[in-house]
Amino acid sequence: MNIVFENLLFNGVFLAMAGAAVAALAGIGSAIGIGIAGQAAAGVISEDPKKFGQTLILQALPGTQGIYGLLIAFLIMTKIGLLGGDGLLDITMAQGAYIFASGIPVGLVGIFSGIAQGKSSAASIMLISKRPEELAKGMVYPAMVETYAVLALLISFLMLNGIQV
């Protein structure tokens, strides 16, 4: 019983898939972030429905973390052969563990930066409710937060790219 269970959990493919799963968790951050921004946007719209387009742009900004997570998850799945013709590759424990590690940066940073970016977007939405002409500046503040999600994406990608399978 024990041996079977161990074989199931501690094998390369499972670890690699867990890595993909962790990367995809970045979506949590985006979901919460977009939610926060959406609440602020709805409040602004209640006063001035014409600002829908502008607020939507700002609301979309924290959405990128989820996309970065999806991207890494997709690359991991392609790497281990889950997607695309040839079927699952033979992955060793060590390789699986490396791949798992490569999913962590984008997943973890994605969660927190997504939430932080959402708050910053919400503040920018408040900004354009009073000064709609300052949309560009309102977009730059959330973009400052996103830098760190981009860096995490880059690290995840470079780690993953360096692993030989």
Binding site: I67, L71, F74, K137, V140, A143, M144, T147
Partner: protein
């Protein structure tokens, strides 16, 4: 290039010529007439001149404008006419414009008519609401079938009223009938808030009944002078609502029938705005009994035109250069490629008039960064074609024109970089070939595919970033030299150039000994000069603090890694989309799935990554580049001219 040179204009003329001059200046539209508040507070000036103004005329035009714009918004609200996607001004010749306005009286009547229709509409909406709420308040009493005008008989009172729903209605009725046997009460209806009850009570026992009413919080309901039963009243009200609604619909229709008038109204609106502005500008003039004084700014290029105009009108004038260091209004002037990128500068903030315009220095890098981040040739083509068509079809102006034109250039750049990296809707060609034709085709990249060798592209991004930063630092040095502080340029820019170049050489491993000494000279120089504006111990600490700033340059350069990361994001998401589309395999179902995935997926990817590319290109300019040298805070040049909203008045040059 960049910031247009301004000249200061002062004019003295006869009041009798004032109207003619204003008219001509407005048509020319190149002179900003400044407010004279400071001169008025100067006692020497104050004794001689007074502020010219014509507030009454301005107010008169204001109220006319608001009437016209109200009528226009009514037409827009109820009209069926489709609004064009982009608002453009309609070109019209001066003669047509004047001819149309000969019918001013008629147009004003149209405005009055539309506004009266809209007032009636508002009135109707109001009375429909009132009638409906009255009807709602009657509905609980629908079972009470005694005519409402019967409020008493010769011996008894009929009382209608409510008790709160927290009170037990039956208990109330029982107690009333127990204490005042000469009465009867009936519960008609109960809802969440209250119980509806009618009571008949002998007149002489009314006081006893009132006691019971008070204990239970029974409050009487009055129906005013309504006649007939509740049912009859309700159906009468319903009928009234129907009639009112019918009239409302009719009015909406007749407003819609007036839609053709909107063109005339727009002409009138613009005419009124022009007249208002002409009257309002007199605020900025100073007058004596027979003469007036005005001063302002004009671009140096327009000086000839303005002086010939002033001579024609017969005014005394003076056109001079601003004093050194004097702030002037800011007008950006750039070449054909850079002009659209002024939008990005304006979105940040206009430059200080004594500094420089950043636009010509970043326009190319903006397009390059945008292209690398969106990084798909097909997306670039789509973007360039859409914006190209918009530019061709609509005659846009101002910020809108600049942004669209800018995206046109960015689209071309995207197509270029996409072709370099081999992305055409991601790997669409390969996926379609494999899925449907079982063929191994693909469009090879001209340079290399970033997915194969990301480190190479990362280094390329850092290189681009380094160049970008060096340009920014160089501009800073140039500004210092221009201001007569060449040593600052040497210490703050030159030494950093030396240090940063040598560190790069050391990292790459080219000429290590030379690089080592360069680095040492640079670093020591920075430590020695970094604290030169401070005193005492501050000099030492300031020097080391300045050297510590190298971490700032490190993070600045690393920031350009987003070029790679966002470029990868759009190309990988594109291939995810293609992959999902290929799950249906060959066959008709597969084709449908592919088409759906293509349309939804690529539209989404294009939109979200286009937005990302725009925002992050802005960020690289605003934070990394502008931070090095840019001084903002200029006031925009606002020439006195025809500020029309709907039409563009064409004048034949004569």
């Amino acid at each position: 290039m960049s910031i247009a040179k301004m000249k200061k204009l002062s004019v003295i003329g006869l009041v009798s010529n004032r109207e003619e001059l204003m008219e001509k200046l407005m048509t020319l539209g190149v002179v900003e007439i400044t407010d004279q508040e400071d001169k008025l507070s100067d006692s020497q000036w104050h004794e001689m001149v007074a502020r010219d103004s014509d507030e009454q005329t301005v107010a008169e035009f204001e109220s006319q404008i608001s009437r016209v714009s109200q009528a226009l918004s009514v037409l827009e609200k109820y009209g069926t006419g489709k609004k064009p996607l982009l608002h453009t001004k309609k070109p019209i010749t001066l003669r047509e414009f004047q001819k149309a306005l000969e019918r001013k009286q008629q147009i004003e009547e149209k405005v009055a008519h539309i506004n009266s229709l809209s007032a009636r509409h508002a009135e109707l909406t109001n009375s429909i609401n009132k009638t409906q709420s009255l009807k709602l308040s009657l509905e609980p009493w629908i079972e009470y079938d005694v005519p409402l005008e019967e409020k008493e008989t010769s011996t008894a009172d009929i009382i209608l009223g409510v008790v709160p729903s927290t009170v037990d209605a039956l208990q109330f009725i029982n107690e009333l009938e127990e204490k005042v046997p000469e009465s009867m009460a009936k519960l008609l209806k109960s809802d969440a808030e209250q119980h509806y009850i009618y009571v008949v009570c002998l007149k002489e026992k009314r006081d006893d009944a009132d006691d019971v009413f008070r204990t239970y919080g029974f409050s009487k309901v009055h129906f005013g002078d309504m006649k007939g039963t509740v049912k009859e009243n309700i159906s009468a009200l319903e009928k009234k609502v129907e009639e009112l609604t019918a009239e409302k619909v009719q009015i909406e229709e007749s407003i819609r029938g007036r839609e053709g008038d909107s063109e005339d109204l727009e002409l009138l609106y613009d005419k009124l705005v022009i007249l208002r502005d002409k009257a309002a500008i007199r605020q900025n003039l100073l007058v004596t009994k027979k003469t007036f004084y005005m001063s302002g700014w004009l671009p140096a290029k327009a000086a000839d035109k303005v002086s010939s105009l002033l001579e024609e009108v017969g005014c005394y004038y003076q056109i001079e250069d601003p004093e050194k260091g004097e702030e002037t209004p800011v007008l950006l002037l750039n070449g054909g490629f850079s002009t659209p990128f002024e939008a990005i500068t304006k979105l940040y903030a206009l430059p200080d008039s004594r500094s420089i315009d950043a636009t010509p220095f970043f326009s190319l890098s903006y397009a390059i960064f945008f292209g690398m981040m969106l990084g798909d040739a097909a997306y670039g083509v789509v973007l360039a074609v859409i914006t190209g068509l918009v530019l061709k079809k609509y005659k846009l102006e101002g910020m809108k024109y600049q942004l669209i034109k800018m995206f046109f250039f960015c689209g071309i750049s995207t197509a270029f970089w996409g072709a370099m990296f081999g992305g055409w809707f991601g790997d669409l060609v390969a996926v379609v070939g494999k899925t449907f034709f079982n063929a191994d085709v693909s469009i090879p990249p001209i340079w290399f595919s970033p997915l194969d060798d990301p480190m190479k592209l990362l280094l390329f991004c850092f290189l681009l970033g380094g160049i970008h930063l060096f340009i920014g630092m160089g501009l800073n040095g140039w500004l210092s030299i221009k201001d007569g502080r060449p040593l600052d340029a040497l210490f703050d820019v030159g030494l950093w150039y030396l240090l940063l170049i040598s560190v790069t050489l050391l990292l790459v491993g080219i000429v290590p000994t030379v690089a080592k000494w360069m680095a040492i000279i640079g670093a020591v120089g920075i430590v020695l000069t970094g604290g030169r504006h401070k005193r005492g111990l501050g000099k030492v600490i300031g020097g080391f603090g300045s050297l510590y700033g190298i971490t700032g340059y490190l993070s600045d350069v690393l920031s350009y890694s987003r070029l790679l990361a966002l470029g990868l994001a759009s190309s990988v998401i594109a291939s995810v989309v293609n992959n999902m589309g290929s799950f249906g395999g060959p066959g008709i179902k597969g084709v449908i799935l592919m088409a759906v995935a293509f349309i939804i997926g690529h539209t989404y990817n294009f939109a979200i990554n286009g937005l990302g590319s725009f925002v992050h290109s802005c960020r690289l300019q605003y934070v990394e580049f502008f931070g090095k040298f840019y001084v903002s805070g200029g006031e925009a040049f606002q020439p006195f001219g025809e500020n029309t909203k709907y039409v563009d008045i064409l004048r034949e040059e004569n």
